[in-house]
């Protein structure tokens, strides 16, 4: 079932078009990554979905209802967290969550606060002042707030950007659990491509305000045909570089390492060729293209 639908959404700020006629939809329980370089239009798109910025044209429907006419009813079932927002520094963690529990009209707010504090392993900070929290704990508090109302849709803007790997992993596990247990629909932006690959069913890639690709993380990775062959050289670095250049491959060298980018089917040709020239190496790694490679290629190409 489709819970969120964006149709021909455009946002212009004067002559600058931040979001240019984009359309997409998200199904119930789906985790979708919204990716793109800085200035691609992701934050403006999310802000329009929250009613903080009004669209120049196009429409947003949530649960089949037009957002513009049903803002309060829709937002009651949504929530939002961003690495860039903070919390009132004179309130305690518990007080901050209590205010938002009231704002979202959460039934039995005190019990729910204890529940989210437990889920995010944050109970010991309940009496801490927000102003005394580390950036990692502030991100954790934002996530507690984002799930306080058991939302059906959550928009997460770089939710793990300031968390240590352990907590970031806990958050990812919770996001997965939330989807499995409550069928929560999640739209997430992140610059951590491994995280997107781990979490997302689908990725929407934006650049210059437009959606330029929409696929699974694996599907996007496959659009990059180049495989990276990294060799830690023992003998024959110059011969390897010369062979690669003659074959028309992209080659870079640094210290003892030579990296050659080839199509997957040319890996065998490369290795056989340098073996024929008597090249020896201590280590070899053959890396298939990742979402990160796709991101870098798209971001650089369109600039």
């Amino acid at each position: 079932m489709e819970v969120l639908s964006v149709k021909n959404l455009t946002k212009r700020f004067g002559k600058f078009t931040a979001v240019n006629n984009i359309s997409f939809s998200i199904k119930e329980g789906e985790i979708v990554g919204l990716l793109g370089p800085n200035g691609a239009g992701k934050t403006t798109t999310i802000a329009m979905m929250l009613g903080i910025i009004s669209p120049s044209s196009g429409s947003i429907s949530v649960f089949g209802l037009p957002f513009a006419d049903n803002r309060e009813a829709i937002l009651k079932q949504m929530n939002y967290s961003s690495a860039y927002i903070k919390a009132p520094w004179r309130l305690t963690v518990w007080e901050h969550l209590y205010v938002f529990a009231l704002m979202y009209e959460v039934p039995r707010p005190k019990e729910r606060i204890e529940e989210v504090l437990r889920i995010f392993n944050f109970s010991d900070k309940r009496k801490a002042l927000n102003g005394d929290l580390s950036s990692g704990n502030m991100a954790r508090l934002n996530l507690c707030k984002a799930f306080i109302n058991q939302p059906k849709i959550v928009l997460l803007d770089e939710p793990t950007s300031s968390l240590d790997p352990d907590v970031a992993d806990q958050v990812r596990q919770f996001i997965k659990l939330s989807r499995e247990k409550y069928k929560t629909t999640i739209l997430i932006t992140s610059h951590n491509m491994a995280e997107i690959e781990e979490l997302c069913d689908r990725v929407i890639f934006m650049n210059h305000g437009k959606i330029i690709a929409e696929d699974t993380p694996e599907g996007l990775s496959k659009k990059i045909k180049k495989t990276r062959v990294q060799l830690m050289m023992k003998d024959g670095a110059k011969r390897t570089i010369q062979f690669a250049k003659e074959a028309g491959f992209t080659v870079t060298a640094k210290d003892r390492y030579v990296v050659v980018e080839v199509d997957e089917e040319d890996v065998a040709y490369l290795l056989a060729g340098i073996a024929e020239k008597g090249v020896t190496y201590d280590q070899i790694s053959i890396d298939k293209p990742t979402l990160n490679d796709y991101f870098i290629e798209e971001a650089r190409e369109k600039h």
Partner: protein
């Protein structure tokens, strides 16, 4: 516009209004600067003006109403500037705390936020004014309510005037951002000389008197002096003040709604994150 206003009032959810009030009431005792706004500056004003007028009274016995008029003015002006400041600074407080996006990405409406700000300003104002009245009585034997509670409607009108100014300043802040945040403390001062807080409007230059005609606050302070001197309410002045307040209130609501719409169009709210 009236129908739209009625619809907005009907749609106000008091759970969310209470949530905003709770957020600020819980942080209030921990905020030294906000406590200073509530107690320190009003006390300081009262002491300075009380001592000046006591001195003047000792020097020239014929000015027997000086204390009443000055202290009445000091206490009544608190209604205007505290109401205005409370509403203006409340919005800025959310922006400084980088909490504004969390607030307005929730179901909270700007009208619920404004109602909460107004109710908070009433609560804090009542506390400030009780403190000042008690202090005025203990230090200078000045009793603002010696004629009963006839000054209450005037105080209510001043509160509304402060609220109107607060909404206009919030509208400007929403529209133009931090660069004009200083208005939250300073803009109200423009009203004071024209309002005749400490002197009758007739003592102003003619051009200032012409401006004062359009200010609801000028009728209130004239009315306050009538109450303190003659113990009666100046009903024509009160009615003009009410009419002007209603007019400006409608304008402020419209301007606030327009500014918020413009801020959503221009993405100005995102700049507070």
């Amino acid at each position: 516009m009236i129908i739209s206003l009625r619809r907005r009032v009907r749609n106000i959810n008091f759970h969310r209004v209470w949530a905003v009030m709770m957020r600020h009431l819980m942080s209030w005792p921990r905020s030294l600067e906000r406590l200073a706004d509530s107690f320190w500056w009003p006390t300081f004003n009262l002491l300075i003006w009380g001592l000046v007028t006591t001195y003047l009274q000792q020097q020239a016995g014929q000015y027997q109403f000086f204390i009443s008029l000055f202290l009445g003015g000091v206490i009544m002006w608190v209604f205007v500037y505290r109401a205005q400041e409370e509403i203006g600074v409340l919005l800025l407080q959310e922006a400084w705390d980088r909490n504004l996006l969390s607030m307005f990405s929730s179901p909270l409406t700007i009208w619920e936020f404004t109602v909460a700000a107004f109710l908070l300003s009433v609560i804090k104002l009542v506390i400030s004014v009780i403190w000042m009245i008690a202090l005025g009585y203990v230090l200078f034997q000045f009793n603002l309510f010696r004629y009963g509670f006839v000054l209450v409607p005037y105080a209510a009108l001043l509160l509304v005037s402060g609220g109107i100014m607060g909404m206009i300043i919030n509208s400007l802040i929403i529209r133009f951002g931090y660069r004009i945040q200083v208005f939250a403390w300073t803009l109200i001062a423009i009203l004071q000389p024209f309002s005749g807080v400490f002197y009758p409007i007739s003592s102003l230059p003619v051009w200032m008197q012409q401006v004062a005609i359009f200010l609801p606050t000028s009728y209130v302070f004239e009315g306050m002096r009538t109450v303190l001197k003659e113990g009666r309410i100046d009903y024509p002045g009160l009615i003009i003040s009410v009419a002007l307040s209603v007019l400006y209130f409608i304008f402020a609501v419209w301007f606030f709604a327009w500014s918020f719409k413009k801020a959503r169009d221009s993405g100005a709210l995102m700049k507070f994150s």
